[in-house]
């Protein structure tokens, strides 16, 4: 009973937040609503006893990805007027495509096949079952190959990001404290003997 109430609360929040992500004019607000949406979906996952996925969602998306995202969005000065330019012009065509897609997908999805009783009901996992352990075991045995490829993809992402963003090391004017300490009088000061110049 409580589970059901919690589900509906978070489900409604999730839908609301997701809608706000699209509707909000201010990109920072949209990003923050996306954070809320992640939270709500994590909560729903928790209800399904998928604690690892739920926490990983918060940890990775909310804790890392969205922080960097907000970081960038906050520094941008996005002019919403230019973004919305031509909105009315493309709207009819966009609507047409959207309705067409909606109808076609509706045809497929509305069939008996996707009725809710076609799916097995959720059953509670047994005592002592660890979601994390199971995931780890599957990941490192059955999906070992894919896991390694994913590692290579991340490596490529790092290489690509660095090679695209790093320019040649600039010549800095920062002094080296070690040199400053060991400097001798002779290095800086040169005393030149010269004859006095006569009056012109």
């Amino acid at each position: 009973m409580i589970e059901l109430i919690v589900f509906y609360i978070f489900g409604a929040l999730l839908l609301g937040a997701a809608t706000m992500v699209v509707v909000m004019r201010n990109p920072v607000h949209a990003a923050l609503f996306l954070v809320l949406a992640f939270f709500c979906s994590a909560a729903i996952w928790l209800l399904l006893q998928a604690e690892f996925l739920a926490i990983a969602l918060v940890l990775v998306y909310v804790g890392a990805v969205m922080v960097l995202f907000l970081f960038v969005v906050m520094m941008l000065d996005i002019n919403m007027v230019t973004i919305r330019e031509g909105f009315a012009r493309y709207l009819p065509f966009g609507l047409f495509v959207a309705i067409l897609m909606f109808l076609v997908m509706g045809l497929v999805v509305s069939s008996d096949y996707f009725l809710s009783d076609a799916f097995s009901t959720f059953s509670h996992v047994r005592e002592g079952y660890s979601n994390t352990q199971h995931l780890g075991q599957t990941l490192y045995t059955e999906y070992l190959y894919q896991f390694e490829i994913a590692g290579a993809i991340l490596l490529v992402a790092i290489v690509a990001a660095i090679s695209l963003s790093m320019s040649k090391a600039k010549v800095t004017k920062a002094p080296n404290p070690g040199d400053q300490v060991t400097v001798k009088k002779q290095d800086r000061l040169r005393i030149v003997k010269m004859d006095a110049e006569g009056k012109e």
């Binding site: 190959y145 894919q146 390694e148 490829i149 290579a152 993809i153 490596l155 490529v156 690509a160 090679s163």
Partner: protein, 478 residues
């Protein structure tokens, strides 16, 4: 199979990965502005991988890693070609990058990772491996396109490539998730078995399949998902365009075969009709729009779109011979495209690219030999006998007719005649027009030799097409 045996099967991939990491580290510590060590290490690693694959071509397909990896004749043949083509591509690239002061060690590192992605795609036997291989390849490609940071066109091309590529990946993933939801498997034999038995679900399988075909079409650059191709071909540094238009096409072909034939063959009637639309549109748009182009890289981009249309014809035929014809087509296309872009690199100099058709004017006066090579390439692209390009079209059309698609064959012949116009226009420019300037061609001996070999290969393979066809047939025999 024990894990050590499984690792042995993936030895080429593993050695490529470790070599790529080695190259990365060596390059980070090398101070050479020409990155000679990086370049040679890259070439050596590709050669090693080539030998590893070449010496272990299996007769029977072998599966590994919980059936998500396959080592069969097709994957081995494609991997051999991918490595060999990339070696030549890097040879051209090295000259180009040095000449245009774009030399960066990461170019080769990313190139190696892209090759790794292609190899993974070639021997992927589950949807997840295919997707990950595709991402590995694409990610490296995006970065390579953007490598010239001073050029606005390159940045724009990279952005377009990245966004549309991400969209395509999204489509593919959506399709994968639909298929997984219906078959509860991502492994090809299991998907094939389940889709064979469950007839009542086929409507939903087709629903997922459509999204996957969109993904494939995006990656191959088939119309109407071709928008990125001309911009990327034009904006990217020529050496990258050369790379994009050759080896990845082989990997994309492997992806198409694995998904459509190994995985979803029970739905053959459905994907045939979808591919038919894509093929006709690609041939029409590619061939007709190419006529009005003045930029040669853009023109070749549209020619790629058209060629992808022909590639689909072999798949539509739906027989082993048809698939072999497609494989023949894509390999010969990669060879021709490599030669053509190599020629553009050859004619370019620092801060000057032979990017317009005008730059080919009177090439026969400047260098009769390279004009002849270019003529071979253009004749081959247009499908003039006895060059390689003729045979690739011939095999595909023959199978198409044998399967009873007369109208489609006729349409494709008409379009290939239209297409011949713009290829032959280059030949005309080279032989019958006066050059604006008589600048000498500046290129190293290596480059000249390889380009010559490339052109002659087109001619020789054109005279002996059966040898290559035999390879393709055995590759797809099982």
């Amino acid at each position: 199979m024990s894990i050590s045996n499984e690792i042995l099967l993936a030895l080429p991939e593993l050695s490529l990965l470790s070599m790529a990491c080695l190259v990365l580290v060596v390059d980070a510590f090398s101070k050479d502005p020409d990155h000679r060590i990086t370049y040679w290490l890259t070439q050596i690693s590709l050669a090693i991988v080539f030998l590893l694959v070449f010496t272990s071509i299996p007769d029977e397909p072998r599966l590994a890693f919980h059936n998500s990896f396959i080592d069969d004749a097709m994957s081995s043949v494609l991997k051999c070609f991918i490595c060999a083509i990339t070696i030549i591509v890097f040879l051209y690239s090295y000259e180009y990058l040095k000449e245009n002061k774009l030399m960066k060690g990461e170019y080769f590192v990313l190139g190696l990772f892209a090759v790794l992605g292609m190899m993974i795609m070639s021997s992927a036997y589950s949807l997840l491996s295919i997707y990950l291989g595709l991402e590995l390849m694409s990610l490296s490609m995006y970065a390579m396109v953007a490598m010239n940071r001073k050029s606005a066109a390159a940045s724009e091309a990279a952005m377009k490539y990245f966004i549309l590529g991400a969209l395509a990946s999204g489509m593919l993933l959506y399709g994968i998730s639909m298929i997984y939801g219906l078959t509860s498997s991502i492994q090809f034999t299991e998907i094939a078995a389940i889709s064979m038995t469950s007839v009542e679900n086929s409507r939903f399988l087709v629903f997922g399949m459509i999204f996957m075909i969109i993904g494939i079409a995006f990656k191959l650059g088939a119309a109407p998902f071709h928008m990125w191709v001309p911009d990327v071909y034009q904006g990217a540094p020529t050496s990258v365009t050369l790379f994009i238009s050759t080896a990845p096409k082989l990997a994309a072909f492997a992806m198409a075969i694995r998904i459509l034939v190994d995985g979803l063959f029970p739905l053959v009637a459905d994907w045939q009709s979808i591919l038919m639309v894509l093929a006709v549109l690609s041939m029409a748009i590619g061939n007709i729009v190419a006529i009005s182009q003045t930029n040669i890289k853009r023109m070749l981009a549209y020619s790629t779109i058209a060629h992808v249309g022909y590639l689909f014809l072999g798949l539509i035929a739906g027989t082993i011979n048809g698939f072999a014809g497609s494989m023949f087509y894509i390999i010969s296309y990669a060879l021709m495209s490599m030669g053509t872009f190599g020629m553009i690199i050859l004619l370019g100099r620092y801060e000057f690219e032979a990017k317009n058709l005008e730059d080919f004017k009177g090439l026969s006066g400047r260098s009769p030999w390279f004009a002849f090579i270019m003529m071979c390439l253009m004749f081959s692209m247009a499908g003039v006998p006895p060059f390689l390009g003729f045979w690739s079209k011939w095999f595909v059309l023959k199978e198409l007719v044998a399967s009873g698609y007369f109208a489609l064959a006729a349409v494709s012949v008409v379009f290939s005649i239209i297409g011949a116009y713009y290829y032959l226009r280059i030949v005309k420019l080279m032989y019958f027009d006066k050059p604006d300037k008589m600048t000498a061609i500046k290129a190293t001996k290596q480059m000249r030799a390889v380009l010559t070999a490339n052109g002659l290969l087109i001619l020789v393979l054109g005279l002996l097409p059966n040898s290559l066809m035999q390879i393709c047939l055995t590759a797809l025999a099982h």
